[in-house]
């Protein structure tokens, strides 16, 4: 029973066929694009935090 429950937790996203998953127009792969956006988010939050600290 336990194993059946855990079976439900498989990551079961069907792989997207290569012809649908075209590369992005910049940075080569989508993984790199997503990583760049996460870094951007981190920079935005850090900037907003410093802004708050500087003007409170």
């Amino acid at each position: 029973m336990r194993s059946r429950l855990f079976n439900c937790h498989y990551v079961l996203m069907p792989p997207v066929p290569p012809d649908h998953d075209e590369p992005p127009p910049f940075l080569g792969t989508w993984r790199r694009v997503y990583m760049a956006i996460l870094i951007y988010l981190g920079a935005i939050i850090a900037g907003a935090y410093l802004f708050t600290r500087a003007y409170r």
């Binding site: 059946r4 439900c8 498989y10 069907p14 066929p17 649908h20 939050i45 708050t52 003007y55």
Partner: protein, 597 residues
């Protein structure tokens, strides 16, 4: 509003509508009317997504919120880029590949008809309510400017939006959105520059930022964790991520934007543009509100920003004393502000602290006088818990902005309403026809469905106008919209999480899970003080947990036991059925297999 303002306003609106209708020529099939023939470029979708989300409420209420509470509302958007990445890597390719018209159509392919119907009903309920609020906000603008009753202005706004949406379909909506966003960006920039120019000559931009900070209006990040606090970095990152996952991944008003894309790449780019641009845009709007606050440090703001309510209490015996206390407190605050600027220029920290203390005391007295005035409104037969936050920016615009700029700002608010409302009503009509009506009449002609879509648009427009009358009872509008959304989004999100990530969970388990999720959310809404940002997390967890428990306890409720009638069960769209209804085609049947294991 003077003649030049009317010229700017009318010219902007007519050009937007005319351009949108011009670009929508040939939207005479269901595929073109509802999905623009899947031909839209990424930048049009990106601006349409942004315009649909940035309603007039964004400008009216967010600036007011910043005026009274500072900029911490921006944290609400911290989860958005994370949500966009998740959606780009999961929902976008799946929806594109399934060639669906609505997100809920996909649920029938994955689960069964009843799950699709329940999800559609949840969407129709919550988006119908939100559409009312979206129309109510600009109707408020007209009400303030023209002195008309809100009911009349609501009706006028609703009629304009509906007629434009009925005629043009999604192509008109999207291309109008592009123009509307250009006007919105221009209007925002002009507003900020004007506010700064209107500051006293002795106050530089740097001084204005310093004063806003000293007044606690630049509190963009709050790191303290509190379940009951709506806006802190944690609720933004976690609660915001779930809310935006729901909004952009499960809400047809957004999904339909990126379903119109030429390819998966174009759709992804449109979402990622929003991931990058949305936070700076919100920061910018909130900053305008903070600058309006600084402006009012030197020019006395009205005791209440809603003139009709102010007029209502002016005849009361208590009013003169309250008004006097308010004026005295303002004068003390103005003196303290001047002392603060001088101390800042002199670099005298001790004097800065002293002036800040005096400023805060005066501010508290002003707040107390305003609270007393709000109480008088209630005592005079006005709203209980009266709030004039939504009127702050409008009051400032109409009183202080120069001729022409007033018309531009009002055009911004109208443009935002048109874009948000038309997108909402268009998506409501799409779900009504695709997920409800065509299942009752599956063999009708393409022309019949286009006509049905137009009538559905008309119906939802009328529904939104009727609900708009209820909007003012929900408090600050920007919050009201998100509260309404949060009551339903968690369940929808849980349903799609199960669809994308849990192969063994079937339709019945998901259906029961969604009901449990809604029950959990409404329990939290009525019986706890948990902030609405957490409802999405709670609802999603309840759906997933319940469905997994059912799958675990009753294994036969799995994917093969549901009433899903198979890949050939989808109703026809007539001549386009081969390419648009997905599961009835060989490609759809092949692609459906891995989802069901």
């Amino acid at each position: 509003m003077r003649t030049l303002d009317w010229v700017v306003l009318v010219t902007s609106l007519v050009s937007i509508v005319a351009y949108g209708l011009y670009r929508s020529r040939g939207s005479n099939t269901v595929d073109r009317y509802l999905l623009a023939g899947r031909t839209m470029p990424w930048y049009a979708m990106a601006l349409s997504i942004m315009a649909t989300q940035a309603s007039a409420i964004t400008f009216i209420s967010t600036t007011g919120q910043s005026y009274v509470d500072g900029m911490r509302f921006v944290q609400f958007y911290f989860g958005l880029p994370i949500a966009m990445i998740v959606i780009c890597s999961t929902a976008v390719p799946l929806f594109h590949r399934a060639k669906v018209y609505t997100a809920y159509e996909y649920l029938e392919k994955r689960f069964d008809g009843k799950t699709r119907t329940l999800a559609s009903l949840i969407f129709l309920a919550q988006r119908g309510l939100s559409a009312g609020l979206t129309i109510y906000a600009p109707a408020l603008v007209l009400s303030v400017i023209l002195g008309w009753p809100e009911r009349n202005t609501t009706l006028l706004m609703g009629a304009t939006v509906v007629s434009y949406t009925v005629l043009g379909g999604i192509k008109a909506v999207t291309w109008s959105d592009v123009q509307q966003m250009c006007i919105i960006f221009l209007g925002l920039l002009v507003s900020l520059i004007t506010v700064i120019v209107l500051l006293p000559k002795a106050v530089s931009f740097g001084d204005a930022v310093f004063l806003a900070g000293a007044a606690g209006r630049l509190n963009a990040v709050t790191t303290n964790f509190n379940w009951n606090d709506r806006f802190n970095i944690w609720s933004g990152l976690l609660g915001g991520t779930f809310l935006f996952l729901s909004y952009f991944g499960c809400d047809q008003s957004q999904v339909q934007r990126y379903l119109t894309g030429r390819s998966v790449t174009e759709s992804r780019l449109s979402l990622l543009f929003n991931a990058v641009a949305k936070i700076p845009m919100q920061f910018f709007i909130l900053f305008i509100g903070a600058m309006v606050f600084v402006f009012y440090l030197f020019a006395q703001p009205p005791l209440l920003f809603q003139h009709a309510e102010l007029a209502r209490i002016e005849g009361r015996g208590e009013y003169p004393a309250v008004a006097d206390r308010y004026s005295e407190a303002f004068e003390d605050r103005r003196q303290a502000t001047k002392a603060l600027v001088e101390a800042h220029h002199a670099g005298d920290n001790a004097a800065v602290e002293r002036a800040t203390g005096e400023y805060r005391v005066a501010q508290k007295r002003m707040d107390a006088a305003r609270a007393e005035a709000s109480r008088l409104v209630t005592l005079s037969g006005g709203e209980k818990d009266f709030s004039d936050t939504n009127y702050i920016f409008l009051s400032f615009v109409t009183k202080y902005l120069p001729v022409g700029v007033v018309g531009l700002v009002i055009a911004v608010i109208f443009a935002a309403t048109m874009s948000a409302s038309s997108g909402e009503i268009n998506s409501l009509a799409t779900v009504t026809v695709v997920d409800m009506y065509r299942r009752l009449r599956p063999r009708a002609s393409d022309h019949h469905y286009v006509t049905a879509s137009r009538f559905a648009t008309l119906f939802w427009g009328a529904y939104a106008v009727l609900f708009a009358g209820w909007g003012k009872r929900l408090g600050p509008l920007i919050v009201a919209v998100n509260v309404v959304g949060s009551l339903f989004y968690g369940s929808l999100l849980g349903c799609f999480v199960l669809a994308f990530g849990f192969r063994r969970v079937g339709g019945t388990a998901t259906f029961v899970g969604m009901i449990a999720g809604e029950a959990a959310i409404f329990w939290a809404f009525f019986f706890t003080n948990i902030s609405w940002l957490w409802y999405n997390v709670l609802g999603c967890a309840a759906v997933v947990g319940t469905a997994l428990a059912i799958t675990y306890l009753w294994p036969n409720s799995g994917p093969n036991s549901g009433p899903n009638s198979g890949p050939n069960s989808g109703p026809n769209w007539g001549p386009n059925s081969g390419s648009s209804s997905g599961p009835s085609s060989a490609e759809g049947a092949r692609e459906r297999t891995p989802l069901r294991g």
